[in-house]
């Protein structure tokens, strides 16, 4: 599905990702974990086209067999053509637009294609009306799925924090992604909200979309992920099922700071 190989990202003298290779399989929830500064968000930004990697390839294969070399694609094409959606660590909603409008903006490319270069729809002719009805239907589906229907006409900036997180996921899902990348979706959520989030993410996975997830909340990671990749200082130090990761000495060392190789040698 998603194959990252030899990914290297250098910022001046800092090596944020160092020859990283991992795979995210179709229909899996793949979690990327690691201590602060391990390079998780850098990997994310490379996958979603916000950074261009210094070296390495990121290849996405769709279920229908088409192949997208993400490291060479333009930023917006990664979402539009390769169907990779993402959310942000610090929520980025269109705060002054309503919840519904946020979901419609996400369907921009589909809706825009139905407007006849924007000219026909201005005069109210063409197939835009039908496309808009379909867009509203999809928006309504994700509003129901995230429990935001009652607030559909409120500005996104006025929603409580947890609802904003859910709306960002709903908005990302409106581009019909094959891979959804979530950057710390559970940050700042209370236990009840993070349970709801788990259910939502499992539902998205069962709907056929693969997930790539950065998360600090180990409760969330261990319960829902099928596969975990552990990073530290830009290198991969662990890769496997949650059970295997939990007992991996290298991972435990990275998290607890014990048994550091340098100290051992000293």
């Amino acid at each position: 599905m998603l194959t990252v190989s030899g990914l290297t990202m250098r910022f001046g003298g800092l090596l944020a990702a160092d020859n990283l290779s991992f795979q995210a399989n179709k229909g899996d929830i793949t979690a990327v974990i690691g201590p602060n500064g391990a390079g998780k968000t850098t990997v994310f930004n490379c996958v979603t086209g916000f950074y261009r990697p210094t070296a390495g390839t990121i290849v996405l294969t769709h279920p229908d067999g088409s192949v997208f070399p993400l490291q060479r694609m333009q930023g917006h094409r990664i979402a539009a053509a390769a169907k990779v959606a993402r959310t942000f660590q610090n929520i980025r909603l269109f705060a002054g637009m309503t919840v519904l409008e946020n979901l419609l903006v996400a369907q921009h490319n589909t809706l825009m294609a139905a407007t006849g270069f924007g000219v026909l729809a201005v005069f109210g002719i063409g197939r835009y009306r039908k496309a808009e009805a379909a867009g509203m239907e999809k928006a309504r589906f994700w509003l129901d799925a995230t429990g935001l229907t009652a607030r559909a006409d409120d500005p996104a900036g006025a929603l409580p924090y947890g609802a904003q997180r859910r709306l960002e996921i709903a908005r990302a899902m409106c581009i019909d992604p094959v891979l959804l990348c979530l950057d710390e979706p559970a940050a700042g959520l209370n236990p009840r909200e993070s349970d709801e989030l788990n259910r939502l993410l499992l539902r998205i996975r069962d709907g056929g979309c693969s997930l790539l997830l950065i998360e600090h909340d180990m409760g969330v990671v261990m319960r829902i992920s099928d596969h975990i990749v552990v990073l530290d200082h830009g290198k991969k130090i662990g890769d496997g099922t949650p059970a295997a990761i939990r007992s991996d000495p290298a991972v435990i060392a990275a998290y607890l700071g014990e048994g550091d190789e340098d100290e051992d040698r000293a």
């Binding site: 909603l93 835009y128 509003l143 559909a152």
Partner: protein
């Protein structure tokens, strides 16, 4: 007590400022320059500052309410009253020529030109959040396109109007390309420079534009081929309808042409706002990074905003050329861009009604102020006002500037701030200005 002390400090500052500015006058007499002192005038100014500050501070102290709540309520109230204001304004605009006063119709034409420019710029600044200080460039391109096409190839107004619009839109896109990566202040500087470049090219490219002498003899528009000429022949408006030809007919016609063009601008921008393109512009203003993550082509979306904004600027320019029958680069200075931008900001970014109201206040209000002041001056026959009465109209810019400052202090987001979403599941609710982004380029 704090209010009194505050007012006293303000008065001291005013004394320091106005002491030399107002209190001392250099007059050229028989023996060269001499210095006069004006203690009374200084005292009046300082006293005004004292009283004004006192009033402001005591008024503020009494009106402390949570800002977000009042903003929301205000937006709701405004959008509700707005539903009534807009039709009233429209009826007044349609009925204006029936007053028969040439002065009012000319003023109305001017106001409508600025309303149209304001609505055009509103697409770029208000919706897409791209600060454009060189909007007058597209106005100039439209005006010169029509003037040159008409005088060189003998094409009529209605043929040239779309051409002028398209040419202006092309220039809009051409300006858009280099500024795609710029934001905020940097964008403003480049657009400002672009406006100046166009004007300076117009001045210096004498072989094409006739330089600073301008282009004259630009043909007037026709009504389905009927000219508004005074000979009353069979091919003219008067001859066809068998009425006495009069200048006022042409003035009325021009008025309705600009009214139609302005309403077209309004209609298109209201339509676009409910379509994906308009929503994408607003999303771009709110968060460009999020737009990119959703697969929106940020470059093309920005370019369409520049292009469509410029299109309407070009239409307005073509109208300006046909109305004046003479254009020169002097008509397209930076002050025009600044006026249009002031109209958009004063009206409230993104608000159609606000821009219309602001244009009426900025252009019509200034005229009304001049009339009012000269009337007041005529009434002041007493010798006390000897020096002031005749100069009173000259103070209009000062008063107007002060009014704008007060306005922006009281309503920093413009007359009609906030926005009403174009689409809703149940009922659209107005959104307060505190949540809506202003755009940083």
């Amino acid at each position: 007590m704090t209010a009194l002390r505050d007012a006293f400090v303000s008065a001291l500052v005013a004394l320091g400022l106005f002491g030399p500015l107002v209190g001392l006058v250099a007059a050229s007499g028989e023996h060269g320059l001499s210095l006069h002192v004006r203690p009374v005038a200084t005292a009046v100014v300082v006293g005004l500052v004292f009283l004004g500050r006192l009033l402001i501070v005591s008024w503020r102290g009494r009106n402390r309410r949570p800002i977000a709540k009042t903003n929301r309520a205000r937006t709701e109230r405004l959008s509700r009253t707005g539903q009534y204001i807009a039709p009233v304004l429209l009826i007044a605009a349609v009925a204006l020529p029936f007053t028969g006063s040439r002065y009012y119709i000319d003023l109305g034409t001017l106001v409508l030109t600025y309303i149209m420019l304001g609505w055009g710029l509103n697409i770029v600044v208000g919706l897409a959040g791209l600060l454009d200080l060189g909007y007058v460039a597209f106005y100039a391109v439209g005006a010169y396109s029509y003037a040159l096409l008409a005088t060189t190839f003998g094409l009529g107004f209605w043929t040239c109007l779309p051409l002028a619009g398209i040419l202006a839109a092309l220039w809009g896109v051409m300006l858009g390309f280099p500024v795609l990566r710029l934001r905020g202040d940097y964008l403003a500087i480049v657009t400002l420079a672009f406006g100046e470049i166009i004007r300076i090219v117009l001045i210096n490219w004498v072989s094409l534009t006739n330089g600073p002498n301008g282009i004259g003899g630009i043909p007037r528009p026709t009504l389905f081929g009927l000219a508004f000429s005074m000979d009353g022949g069979p091919g003219t408006f008067g001859g066809f309808f068998h009425i006495e030809p009069a200048v006022i007919q042409r003035i009325d016609f021009l008025y309705y042409v600009i009214l139609g063009l302005a309403l077209l601008t309004n209609w298109v921008s209201l339509r676009l706002r409910r379509l994906p393109l308009g929503r994408a512009w607003e999303a771009l203003r709110e968060d460009e990074v999020a737009c990119r993550s959703l697969g929106i082509n940020v470059r093309n979306t920005k370019l369409t905003a520049f292009g469509i904004g410029a299109l309407f600027g070009g239409f307005a320019g073509a109208f300006f050329a046909t109305r004046q029958a003479f254009i020169s680069p002097e008509s397209f200075t930076f002050i025009e861009s600044a006026t249009v931008l002031a109209i958009v900001v004063l009206g409230g970014l993104g608000s159609q009604l606000g821009v219309a109201l602001a244009a009426i206040v900025m252009v019509g209000g200034l005229e009304a102020l001049r009339d009012g002041l000269s009337f007041l001056g005529d009434q002041m026959n007493s010798p006390i006002f000897a020096g002031i009465a005749s100069e009173l109209p000259l103070y209009r810019m000062l008063i107007f500037g002060l009014a704008l400052v007060v306005m922006m202090v009281l309503r920093p987001r413009g007359l009609v701030s906030g926005r009403t979403p174009g689409v809703a599941l149940t009922k659209p609710k107005a959104i307060g200005p505190d949540l809506v982004a202003e755009g940083r380029g």
